[in-house]
Amino acid sequence: MKNKRFAIVLDTERCIDCKACTVACKAENDVPLGPNNYRNWVVASKLRGKYPNLGQSYTPSQCQHCSNAPCEHVCPTRATFTSSDGIVDVKEEKCIGCKYCQTACPYNARYYNEETGAIDKCTFCAQRIYAVPPRLPACVDTCPTKVRAFGDLNDPNSEVSLLLARNPSKVLKPAMGTNPHLFYLD
C-alpha cells in the first residue's frame, strides 16, 4: 500500500507474559503446532537480584520489519521482499527452504513451516489490516493489557506516531543497522 509505513510500538511494562499474543498468532496464521513454530513470542528475562529481592521483565517480540532487512539481502530466490508499506514478507512459491534468511535474521523471527515447505514469519497480519473493515493484527487485538499499538508512521496523528513523539523509545540491536520498525518504549 502506498504512502504507508506500518510499525508496532510496545510498552513492555504492561506485559504479564500471558502468551495470548503467541496463541492468537498461531491460530490466526495457521502456524503449525509445536513449541518451535511461532511468528511471535515473549521472552522472560533472567531473574534479577537475589531472593527475596527479585525482578523479571517480559518482552514480546516478532519480525521487526526492518527497512534494511538482512533476511531480504541473503535470499537467493528473492522470495523475501519488502512491500511498499514496510511489511517484510515471503513469497511461499519462491521459497526453496534454504534457511539462509533464518540464520541472517538477528532477531530469530523466522521458522520453517513444514506444512507449506517455506519460511514463515510475521506479516503484521496483512490479511487482517487490509480486510474490509480493517482489523488489528491478532497479537495487538487480543492482548489483555494492550502492550502493543499498531499503526502507520506516515500518519503523524496515528497512535504509533503519537506514542513515539511523546515517549523515548528504543529498537532491538540498533548496532546491526537493520532499522527495525518495532519500537520499545523506555
Binding site: E13, R14, I16, D17, C18, K19, A20, T22, V23, A24, K26, A27, E28, D30, V31, P32, L33, G34, P35, N36, N37, L47, K50, Y51, P52, L54, G55, Q56, S57, Y58, I96, G97, C98, K99, Q102, T103, N108, Y111, Y112, E114, E115, G117, A118, R135, A138, D141, T142, C143, P144, T145, K146
Partner: protein, 735 residues
C-alpha cells in the same frame, strides 16, 4: 539432492535453539484436523460452507469473556475478542480463549456415547447409540432409587457452562439433595468471610483503586477479568501502588511495586497487624465507622495483641514495612483495597482470614466508593420455574451439619466424600458428573478413587476423556461451548452484563448439548420429570428475557447487554445491608451465636517438619484447572509441570535442575521434573495443576508430570467447608 521442501528437520530444531520438549504433532490448521477425521470416517468430508462472524461467550474458563468467532467456510478459523464495548472483558482474549478452536477440532474429543467393557479405569470402551447409553443411565438411576434411596445418587457439576442449572434441575427432579458444585474447591470461604461482614461478597474497584494489597491472588497469571487488566498501571489513572504477598515470585510479583515472600498461612497475622496500626495510631475513618459499622469497640480491644513486631516474626515481613504499608494504605483510603482474592482457599482458617481482610477494608471506609470495595449489581432475568416432584422418604444432604455454613446446592466436597466413604448416615452408590473433573480437582485423589470404586454406577458428561470420565461406566459427549445455544447469563459485578452463547458451527460427531441430554434423561425418568424440561432452548431464552426483550437484540446484535458503563458509587449509602444488624459487622454477633470467633483470632500454621516442604498450588495463565492441559495450542506453551525448589534446598538434597524427583505426602506419591528456582521460599515447593493424569484419552499429557490432587491432604475450613490447599507437607527424593 532431496527436495528441500520435504526436509523434516527444522533449522531451529537443528540448531538446538530451544530447549523445550519437542512434540511430534504436526496437525496445523483446523481444516487439516477435519480432513484427517473425514479420512478416518469419523465425520463426513467437510464441504465449503458459510463464512460469517458470530458473537458468543468464551467457555475456556469461568470469566465468560466476549468473543467473536470468525467462521470461514464452515470452520471456526479464529476467535477474536468481541470488538464492541464489553464492560467485563474489555476487548481482550487470553491464550486459553484463543485456543478455543482446538477444543472443537480436537482429535481427542469424545465423539459418541461410550460404554465401559473392561474394568473401571482400564480404558476399554465400546461405542453405543445414544438410545442405549441414555437407557442405561436411567435404568441405573432407577435401580439405585429402588435399592437404596434417591439420595444415594450424587450429582457433581462445574461452573461456567451456562447449562449447569439444567443438570441441577434434573438432580432435584430425580429427588436427590446431593449436588456437589465447585465452591468448596474455590471461593466458598471468601464468600462466607465477606458476606458475614458486608452482607454480600463485593468486588474491588481495581481500575480506580490507588493502593492495592494482594495476598496470593496472582492476578497476572490467575486471570480474572477485568481485574487482571485493570491491575496494570496505565497512564490515565489506575493504581499508584501494588503490594503483593506470595511465597512465590509470580508474574504478579514481577509487576508489583513491592513483593513479600510471606510465610504461607500467616496472611491473617499481616492483616491483623495492619488493623492494629490503623487503630492504635488513629488512621481509621471515624465518621464512616460511626455511621456504617458495628463492633468497633470490641475490635479495638481485640486487635491490641497483634502488633507489627509480633506479626513480623509470624510472617517474615519486617515490622517497619508492616507499619509503613498500614500508613500508606490508610492514607490512600478510601481509594484502597485489600484485594480478597477469589478462587483460592489456602488454610483451615480461611474464612476468618477473609473476615480480617473485610474488616481492614471497612475501617478505612473503602466500601461502596470509588477505588474501594463495590457491592455487585445484577440485571434481573425471568427465572425458569418448575415444579419438582415430591418424594416423601428423601433424607437431608449427606454432608448436612458437617460445617457451620453449608450451601444447600454446593455442599462441601471433603466432608461429603468422607461421609460417603463411611456410608454415614446413608450410602452413596451412583454418580452423575457434568464436566467436573473430580479426580483432578478434589484434593486426595486416592480417596476420590475409593469413592468411585464404591459406586454401583457412574456416568460422566464431558467433551474429552477426563480422568473422571476414564473411571466412569457411561461417558456422554457434550457439544462444546462453540457449538451450543446456551441460555443468557447475568454476570453480576459493579458493571453487570448479560452474556450468552450461540452455535458458531454445528455440533460435531454425535455430541449433544447438555440441555438435550437432560431432556432425554428426564423423558426416560417419567412424565412428571419430563414436564419440567418440556420447552425448547429458544422458548427458554424468550422466557428469560420476556421482561426486557431488548436484551435479545443486544445479544444477537453485539454479543452483550449492559445498562451502565461505569460503576455506581454510593449505591447502598444509608440502606440496610443484609447482615443481622443491617450494618457492616466488624464484630459478628452471628458468629458468636454459632460458637465461632466473632473477631478473627490468629493461630500459627503448623511448622514445616524437618526435611519436609510445604506443597503450594497456584494458577498460571495457560490452563484452566484440570481441563485444558491437553489443548494442543496450550500444550505448546507448557508441555509438562515441574516441581519448584529453592537452590539452597536443592544443594542440601544434592538434586540437579531437570532431574526427576519423587514427591511424597501422607496421601500420595508423584514423580515429576525438578526446577531449581529462586522464585520460591526455601521452606516450600510448588507444582502447576492439571498434569499427572490417569486418563490415556488425553494424548498430549498422558503419563506426563505429576498430579497435585494426588498429594494434597483433604483438610478443610470448618466454617465454610472449603478445601485447605496449603496444609500438606512433602518429602523430596531423587526418582
Amino acid at each position: 539432492m532431496a527436495n528441500p521442501k520435504k526436509q523434516k528437520m527444522s533449522r531451529r530444531k537443528f540448531l538446538g535453539i530451544s530447549s523445550c520438549a519437542l512434540t511430534t504433532a504436526v496437525v496445523g490448521s483446523q481444516v487439516k484436523v477435519l480432513k484427517a477425521l473425514a479420512k478416518s470416517g469419523d465425520i463426513s468430508e467437510p464441504v465449503a460452507a458459510i463464512t460469517k462472524d458470530v458473537y458468543t461467550s468464551c467457555g475456556m474458563c469461568v470469566n465468560k469473556c466476549g468473543v467473536i468467532a470468525r467462521v470461514r467456510d464452515g470452520v471456526i478459523h479464529k476467535l477474536d475478542p468481541n470488538p464492541n464495548f464489553f464492560p467485563k472483558s474489555r476487548g481482550m482474549l487470553c491464550a486459553r480463549g484463543n485456543a478455543g478452536t482446538k477444543v472443537v477440532y480436537d482429535p481427542d474429543r469424545l465423539k459418541y456415547p461410550l460404554i465401559r467393557v473392561g474394568e473401571r479405569g482400564e480404558g476399554k470402551w465400546r461405542r453405543a447409540s445414544w438410545e442405549e447409553a441414555l437407557d442405561m443411565v436411567t435404568n441405573n438411576m432407577n435401580q439405585i432409587a429402588e435399592k437404596y434411596n434417591r439420595a444415594s445418587m450424587m450429582f457433581a457439576s462445574t461452573e461456567g457452562t451456562f447449562s449447569e442449572h439444567f443438570f441441577l434441575q434434573l438432580a432435584e427432579c430425580y429427588g436427590t439433595p446431593n449436588t456437589l458444585r465447585h465452591p468448596t474447591l474455590c471461593l466458598s470461604s471468601n464468600i462466607q468471610g465477606f458476606s458475614a461482614t458486608f452482607g454480600t461478597n463485593p468486588t474491588p474497584d481495581v481500575k480506580n483503586a490507588d493502593y492495592i494489597i494482594m495476598s496470593g491472588a496472582n492476578r497476572a497469571e490467575a486471570l480474572m477479568t477485568p481485574d487482571s487488566i485493570d491491575m496494570i498501571k496505565t497512564d490515565g489513572g489506575g493504581r499508584r501502588k501494588l503490594v503483593y504477598l506470595d511465597p512465590r515470585f509470580t508474574k504478579t510479583a514481577a509487576k508489583a511495586d513491592e513483593w513479600y515472600p510471606i510465610k504461607p498461612g500467616t496472611d491473617m497475622a499481616f492483616i491483623l497487624a495492619l488493623i492494629n496500626v490503623i487503630i492504635t495510631e488513629g488512621l481509621y475513618d471515624d465518621d464512616f465507622i460511626e455511621e456504617n459499622t458495628v463492633g468497633f469497640e470490641q475490635l479495638a480491644q481485640h486487635i491490641k495483641q497483634y502488633s507489627p513486631g509480633w506479626a513480623a516474626t509470624e510472617c517474615d515481613i519486617p515490622a517497619k514495612d508492616i507499619r509503613r504499608i498500614a500508613h500508606e494504605f490508610a492514607n490512600a483510603a478510601p481509594s484502597a483495597v485489600y484485594y480478597q482474592g477469589r478462587r483460592s482457599s489456602f488454610f483451615q482458617n480461611d474464612t476468618q482470614m477473609r473476615r480480617a481482610m473485610a474488616i481492614l477494608n471497612a475501617i478505612v471506609g473503602a466500601w461502596d466508593t470509588k477505588g474501594g470495595l463495590l457491592p455487585n449489581k445484577k440485571i434481573a432475568l425471568t427465572k425458569h420455574d418448575y415444579l419438582a416432584p415430591w418424594y416423601d422418604d428423601v433424607p437431608d444432604r449427606l454432608d448436612k451439619g458437617g460445617v457451620t455454613y453449608l450451601s444447600e446446592k454446593d455442599g462441601s466436597w471433603p466432608v461429603f466424600r468422607d461421609r460417603a466413604l463411611a456410608a454415614d448416615p446413608y450410602p452413596i452408590k451412583g454418580m452423575m458428573v457434568y464436566k467436573q473433573n473430580v479426580l483432578v480437582s478434589v484434593p486426595d485423589r486416592a480417596k476420590s478413587l475409593e469413592l468411585m470404586k464404591q459406586m454401583d454406577f457412574i456416568c460422566t458428561i464431558d467433551i474429552t476423556m477426563s480422568d473422571t470420565a476414564w473411571y466412569s461406566d457411561v461417558v456422554l459427549p457434550e457439544a462444546t461451548y462453540l457449538e451450543r445455544l446456551d441460555p443468557p447469563e447475568n454476570l453480576s459485578g459493579p458493571v453487570p452484563v448479560v452474556a450468552f452463547r450461540q452455535p458458531c458451527v454445528e455440533a460435531m460427531f454425535e455430541s449433544k448439548t447438555n440441555f438435550w441430554i437432560m431432556q432425554q434423561l428426564a423423558k426416560r425418568l417419567g412424565p412428571e420429570i419430563a414436564e419440567t424440561f418440556d420447552f425448547t432452548m429458544e422458548e427458554h431464552i424468550h422466557h428469560m428475557l420476556k421482561k426486557k426483550p431488548e436484551i435479545y437484540d443486544a445479544l444477537f446484535g453485539k454479543g452483550v447487554y449492559y445498562e451502565d458503563t461505569e460503576p455506581e458509587y454510593g449505591r447502598l449509602k444509608g440502606k440496610r445491608l443484609r447482615t443481622r444488624s443491617g450494618k457492616i459487622e466488624l464484630y459478628s454477633e452471628k458468629y458468636a451465636k454459632k460458637g465461632l470467633d466473632p473477631l478473627p483470632v490468629y493461630k500459627s500454621p503448623d511448622k514445616v517438619p524437618t526435611n519436609m516442604y510445604r506443597l503450594l498450588v497456584g494458577r498460571h495463565a495457560y490452563f484452566t484447572h484440570g481441563t485444558t492441559a491437553n489443548n494442543a495450542l496450550l500444550h505448546d506453551l507448557m508441555p509438562e509441570n515441574t516441581l519448584w525448589l529453592a537452590p539452597s534446598e536443592a544443594r542440601k538434597l544434592r538434586l540437579k535442575n531437570g532431574q526427576m524427583v519423587k514427591v511424597k505426602s501422607k496421601v500420595g506419591e508423584e514423580k515429576l521434573k525438578l526446577e531449581i528456582t529462586e522464585k520460591i521460599r526455601p521452606d516450600s515447593v510448588y507444582m502447576a495443576h492439571g498434569f499427572g493424569v490417569l486418563s490415556k484419552g488425553l494424548s498430549n499429557i498422558a503419563g506426563v508430570g505429576g498430579s497435585d490432587a494426588a498429594l494434597i491432604e483433604s483438610k478443610y475450613c470448618p466454617i465454610s467447608g472449603n478445601c485447605a490447599m496449603h496444609e500438606t507437607f512433602v518429602q523430596i527424593t531423587p526418582a
